[in-house]
Every structure is written in structure tokens, then in C-alpha cells.
């Protein structure tokens, strides 16, 4: 009897985490705790960073079988939604149900700034190639510059699954750092006079326009870049649910329960791809450096086009709204507002900046479609 008891205890001990932990796992547990600190105490995009960080923690607990790669495990099945490209479009559905395209419809010139801010994606693509990444990996790293979490995860899950952990962590961390990264670049590229421009009030947008907009954007974008259709289609479906006014129950669900459920599953399973083997590599450091470049050049691209439009319109457009083309909604628009207010306290750029901000979401989805169609 006693031997059996000792044998069982021995078996349990040998299968415990303490005996089987590797150095890599220990380091990753530490990294996940740091990310949890950033998410909880510093409030860096907590809605995603917390599940991602905790998923990372779960994946690196020895013998638990909770990484996204441990077949048969809980998170393996949750991860299928990421691998099959299901979760990001559903998150876009919720985002569309929360987005107001009014400022963009009222001032469609903002589309240009949304396009220019995607410069960061393509310059970073080249930078990644220089650092030795394959074209598919470089495309996934570049899309961080779209400042759009779901888009980055969608592209990476199709082009470079192995890099999902580092790219997701980089994307969401930099999105949280937008208020720190953007202002210096914005100030360096504009003059005081340009920053002080007060823009004229936006015209009111009718309900009919707001209903037609999502329909034709879906058709046009999907015809030109079919791989972008899942993202743009879901975004515009969510928006149509909201603007039509006849599907209030569905809109409420899309922007509350549904997006929350999928966010939890997405965050945990993406975090759980960050096992020690995949995360603790030189590549991860490269991705973190390139992510910063992506955001920087995206901001610069948007601001520079804003300057061009300032000149072309004879001073009617404030270049600061250009940086909002980086599609971190609504953070980037708030940054434009803040920097503008520093220059001219009575200047309210927020609604004007929302135009480029939401067009950046469409722009980064188009860029994702292009990358997918060329590189897949």
C-alpha cells in the first residue's frame, strides 16, 4: 500500500510543472507578467493586451497543454477561429457597429490622408525584407503599420502564422503608445501656422447617405481587392446595421456581447501562440523595432499629405489631422485634437480628424487585401 502511495506521489511530482519547466518558459512567464502589468496598471489597450498576456502565461505553463499548438487542448480549439480567419472579421463587425462615418462622408478628401498613412505598411515591408524576413513574414510585419489589430492578426494568420505572437504583442503595444509616438513626428513635420489652422464646420450628413455608404464601399473595395472582402464586408455590415436604424437588437449585440466574446477568444488564443520557442528569438526583437518604424512612417505619411492638402486648398485643411489616418480609432484622432489645441486652445479638430481616422481603417483593410493577393 505504502509503495503504491509513494509511486503515485512520485508520478505526480515527475509530471508537475516544477520538474518540467524550461528556462524559456520561465522567461516567458516573466514577460507575460510584465505585459499584464502594462495592461492593468498602465492601461495599455487592456481589452486585448490582458487576454493576450494571460494567454501567453497559460501557454508557457509546463505540462498544461494550453498553447495554441497543443492539439486537443482548450486553447487549440479556440485558436481555430484565428487560424481560419474567423475572429478578426467578426471583430470588424462590432467595430463597424460602433463607427460613425459621418465626418468622412462630409469631407471625403479625408480619404486621401487615410491612404497616405498606409505608407508605413509598405516601407516597413521593405525594412523587414532587409532584415532577412521572407516576403510573407515581411508583409505580416508591415501590416502592423496599419495600426489595426484585427487586420494585423488576419493577415498574419494567413501569411506567417508563426509570427502571430510577437506581431500581436507589437501591434497592440504600439497602438497604446500612439499618444507618445505621434506628437513629436507631427510637430517636426509641420509649422506653427499650419498647426493653428481652424477648419470650417462639417456639413450635416443625411441618413440616406449614411445608409448608401457602407453598401457601395463594400461592393467597390471587394471588387478591386477580393481578399479584403471579409474585413471590409463585415465592417460595413456592422455599420449598416447601425445606420439603417431597423436592426437595433442586432446592432446592440454586435457592438457589445458579440465583440466582447470574440475579443476574449481572440486575445487568449493569440497570446497562447507565444510559446518560448516562437517568441524568444532574434526575430521578435526585429519585429518590435520594425513596428515602431511602421507607426512612425504611417504618421509621417499622413501628415505630409495633410501638408500637401493644406497648400492645395489654400490653408483650409490642418495637416495635423493627417496623422489620424493611422487607423487607431479614436486614439489617433484624439492626438490630433490635443496637438492642435496646444497650438490654438479654441481649435476643435476631433471631428475633422475622425474622417481620416476611419478612412484609415478602410485603407489598411485594402492594403491587407493587396498584400494577401500578392503574397499568399
Amino acid at each position: 500500500m505504502l509503495d503504491l502511495f509513494f509511486e503515485s506521489v512520485n508520478t505526480i511530482a515527475l509530471e508537475s510543472g516544477f520538474v518540467n519547466v524550461t528556462l524559456g518558459q520561465a522567461i516567458m512567464l516573466l514577460v507575460s507578467c510584465i505585459l499584464l502589468y502594462l495592461a492593468i496598471a498602465k492601461q495599455y489597450e487592456p481589452l486585448l493586451l490582458l487576454p493576450i498576456a494571460f494567454g501567453m502565461l497559460l501557454a508557457n505553463i509546463p505540462m498544461a497543454g494550453l498553447s495554441a499548438y497543443d492539439e486537443g487542448g482548450l486553447i487549440y480549439y479556440l485558436y481555430q477561429g484565428v487560424k481560419l480567419g474567423i475572429y478578426p472579421p467578426i471583430i470588424f463587425l462590432g467595430i463597424g457597429a460602433m463607427t460613425d462615418f459621418g465626418p468622412l462622408i462630409a469631407n471625403p478628401k479625408s480619404f486621401l490622408m487615410g491612404a497616405a498613412a498606409q505608407l508605413g505598411i509598405f516601407l516597413t515591408f521593405v525594412g523587414a525584407l532587409v532584415l532577412g524576413f521572407t516576403p510573407e513574414q515581411a508583409g505580416s510585419i508591415g501590416i502592423i503599420g496599419g495600426a489595426d489589430g484585427p487586420t494585423a492578426i488576419y493577415v498574419t494568420s494567413q501569411l506567417a502564422k508563426d509570427l502571430l505572437g510577437p506581431i500581436a504583442v507589437a501591434a497592440y503595444s504600439y497602438m497604446a503608445l500612439v499618444p507618445i509616438i505621434q506628437p513629436p513626428i507631427m510637430k517636426a513635420l509641420t509649422t506653427k501656422k499650419e498647426r493653428a489652422v481652424v477648419m470650417e464646420q462639417l456639413r450635416p450628413v443625411s441618413k440616406l447617405e449614411k445608409v448608401i455608404f457602407p453598401i457601395f464601399v463594400t461592393i467597390i473595395v471587394s471588387f478591386v481587392v477580393p481578399p479584403a472582402a471579409p474585413l471590409v464586408g463585415m465592417l460595413m455590415l456592422g455599420n449598416l446595421l447601425k445606420e439603417s436604424g431597423v436592426t437595433e437588437r442586432l446592432t446592440n449585440t454586435a457592438k457589445n456581447e458579440l465583440i466582447n466574446i470574440i475579443t476574449i477568444f481572440l486575445g487568449v488564443s493569440v497570446g497562447a501562440t507565444a510559446t518560448a520557442e516562437k517568441f524568444l528569438t532574434a526575430q521578435t526583437l526585429g519585429i518590435i523595432a520594425l513596428g515602431l518604424i511602421a507607426f512612425g512612417f504611417g504618421t509621417a505619411g499622413g501628415v505630409l499629405l495633410g501638408k500637401l492638402m493644406y497648400v492645395v486648398t489654400g490653408g483650409k485643411i490642418n495637416p495635423l489631422i493627417g496623422s489620424a489616418g493611422v487607423s487607431a480609432v479614436p486614439m489617433a484622432a484624439r492626438v490630433s485634437q490635443k496637438v492642435g489645441q496646444e497650438e490654438n486652445p479654441g481649435n476643435f479638430l476631433l471631428m475633422h480628424a475622425m474622417g481620416p481616422n476611419v478612412s484609415g481603417v478602410i485603407g489598411s483593410a485594402v492594403a491587407a487585401g493587396v498584400l494577401l493577393s500578392i503574397l499568399k
Binding site: P108, F122, L129, L131, R203, P204, I212, V224, R249
Partner: protein, 124 residues
């Protein structure tokens, strides 16, 4: 660390990407401008032609109508102004004549309670 990059492929991706993104968004820009012009174009001609013709008649008729505007006692001018502004915002135009305002009595329930009941018992 610095690999042999296929610069032609890299260039192709960057240029195609930027061109396609710009083309699509410029296309969307033009369509939205067009949509805006068409839809606000429908509104204007009607408004312009009606007022001059009907203005004369309306002026004569408006005076008696205005004095007949029935506002129930107990409703202040400020409330009347707010109600008028709310109707104007919902209708999207100031082209209406307010004839009467009276308090609606729906039993002893407050307006909030009635709104809550209405929301919960709404049809699918």
C-alpha cells in the same frame, strides 16, 4: 543579416500596394462627393421654388395660425423653444408650423417607465 533581397519583387509589392490603396480610396472619395452632391441637390431646388411662390400666401395665413398656436398652461416658453428645436433637429428642416403643445397623460407612469416598457415589448 542583410539578405539578398529580390528588389524587383519588393518594388512591385510596394508600388502596387500604394497605387491600389490610393486608387481605391480616391475612387471612394469621388463617389462620396458625387453622392453628396446628388442627394443635397434633391433638397435644394424644391426649397428654392416653393418659398417665393407660397411666401405671400403663407404670410397672410401665418399670422392667424400663430395666434391660434395652443400651448397648454404650465408649459413655459423655454420648453416650447426646446420642443421646437427638437422637432427641427429630427425633421432636418425648420419648414413646419407648430400648432399646439399639450402634456400627454399616460396613467401614472413617468416618461422613462413608459419608454422602458415600450422598448421591452417591442416586436422582433
Amino acid at each position: 543579416m542583410f539578405a539578398n533581397i529580390d528588389w524587383t519583387m519588393a518594388g512591385a509589392v510596394v508600388i502596387t500596394g500604394l497605387v491600389v490603396v490610393f486608387v481605391v480610396l480616391v475612387l471612394l472619395w469621388f463617389i462620396v462627393e458625387l453622392m453628396g452632391k446628388i442627394l443635397s441637390g434633391f433638397g435644394k431646388p424644391k426649397n428654392l421654388s416653393q418659398p417665393p411662390v407660397k411666401a405671400v400666401e403663407k404670410d397672410k395665413k401665418q399670422l392667424p395660425i400663430k395666434s391660434q398656436m395652443e400651448i397648454e398652461g404650465g408649459i413655459t416658453d423655454e420648453v416650447v423653444a426646446v420642443i421646437t428645436a427638437a422637432i427641427s433637429a429630427i425633421e432636418g428642416t425648420g419648414n413646419f408650423v407648430l400648432r399646439s403643445i399639450r402634456q400627454s397623460y399616460s396613467g401614472k407612469r413617468s416618461a422613462w417607465a413608459s419608454a422602458g416598457i415600450e422598448q421591452n415589448t417591442r416586436l422582433f
